[in-house]
Amino acid sequence: MDRVTGPAATAPRAVPPVAHQAPTAPAAASSGVHATARLVARRDGRGGTSLPVLESDGPLALRRTRGDGDEARVVLVGAMSGPLGGDRFAVRANVEEGARLRLTSAAATIALPGQAGGDAHYDVRVRVGDGARLRWLPEPLISARGSDLRVTTRVDVAPTATLVLREEQVLGRVGEEPGRLAGRLVLRVGARLVLDQEVACGPGAPGGWDGPAVLAGHRALGQLLVVRPSFAERPPAARLLGETACMVPLAGPAVLVTALAPDGLRLRRVLDSALAELG
């Protein structure tokens, strides 16, 4: 599988880096690539969804594909490898009132070590407005040996909106030790904080990360987060999806599937069956 073997850790970037200095970047930041992709989905008034803002930036390319009914579809295409150490990637998406959007990605994202050194950050912020629906289903994030990446995903969802969001982390390519990876996922529904979860793993992470309380040797970890207004009244009951996966109602109108698996393929199988049921 291409997306598992991926580019070699030392491969040059496929496209020369174009530095897009984010205005908020700290002065002391390293010389990595700074890129922010932006996306706004809006009801077009004819029963569909338009994309008045669709801004690619450097390695983050957004492509509109054929939609389905009232749903606009966007694919995030990595136009070069990375993030590499020192890079600062960001995605900002706003799904406005009543709009429908599905976002996927063309391939896995592979965190690699960089010449610039230091850690890389990938920061995703998403807003889903009243009555809107967002399905955010990117391919996995693979943490290659020697990489050091912090991923933060903050999602604000209106109480009348629907969200389906999948995150998958694969620790190392086939047979490879992982890099260091820290991921934080924060969900607010209206004003209420519903989920704030951070997982840190790989060399340099706090002790016990691969032990019996945390990952116990599993190399793929995933979450499926579903927010739906009807869950406020009738949340699905907690249940097990095998020995290392479960579906639980959160303290709010949301359900979280947490799954561990030996590899990315088996992880996807568990999340796909949960998605078919909840999505």
Partner: protein
């Protein structure tokens, strides 16, 4: 107030119901993930740096006077498993009963009124530390130490592990308990001005999943 209050609060015999819980160790033993002292040590380290750190930061923040309602919501958001949320509230209720008897205090009374079904245990622990005249660091130490001492004691019963080996695990993780308590207090101070988002959210997937596996069992030695 007296420093010895810390010993009273941290004592495993303090009647707050903790002895009935294994901190996820029973589920890990049943799944074959803990078979001896080495696994127990790895388990304790993992728990300490995840839910232990979060509990310590919540307790320190409550002891500093951060709003318990905001802290309780932050604790809910950091505890996806409904089984673990239920356990945390039950332990909070039991601790509050013992704390009000030991250190009568208006803050504890207010907490009981605001949360008739119980607040998350670390939040109660922090307010209790404050009532007992202890400082946020003491509250953080209590929570961090409890995150490793609970499983270590439980595994002695679950595996007939030599109690000397279990105590050895606690001694070897002691310097990491120091680090976690330090981090927790720094985060709690940040939360005083920056809100509860400044608190850590470190999670342990297998503790979450294991708690749901455990709660579905017909018979078990420990409640969680």
């Amino acid at each position: 107030m007296t420093r010895a209050a810390l010993l009273v609060l941290a004592d495993g015999r303090f009647p707050a119901g903790g002895h009935a819980h294994s901190g996820g160790a029973e589920a890990a033993v049943r799944a074959g993930r803990i078979t001896g002292a080495a696994d127990l040590e790895d388990f304790c380290r993992g728990r300490l740096h995840t839910t232990g750190l979060v509990a310590a930061a919540l307790a320190a923040a409550a002891a500093l006077g951060v709003d318990p309602v905001a802290l309780d919501e932050a604790a809910d958001a950091r505890t996806p498993s409904p089984a673990l949320r239920g356990t945390a509230r039950k332990l909070g209720r039991q601790l509050l009963r013992a704390a009000r008897a030991a250190w009568p205090d208006a803050g504890l009374d207010a907490l009981a009124r605001t949360f008739p079904r119980g607040a998350h245990q670390p939040v109660v622990l922090g307010v209790t530390a404050r009532a007992a005249g202890l400082d946020p660091r003491d509250a953080a130490y209590c929570a961090a130490y409890e995150s490793v001492s609970g499983p270590a004691t439980a595994v002695v019963r679950l595996l007939s592990l030599d109690p000397f080996d279990a105590t050895g695990v606690l001694a070897r993780t002691a310097d990491e308990v120091d680090l976690v308590a330090d981090r927790a207090v720094r985060a709690a101070r940040a939360a005083l001005t920056g809100g509860v988002d400044a608190l850590p959210a470190a999670s342990a997937p297998l503790l979450e999943i294991g708690a749901e596996v455990h709660t579905a069992l017909p018979t078990r030695l420990f409640a969680s």
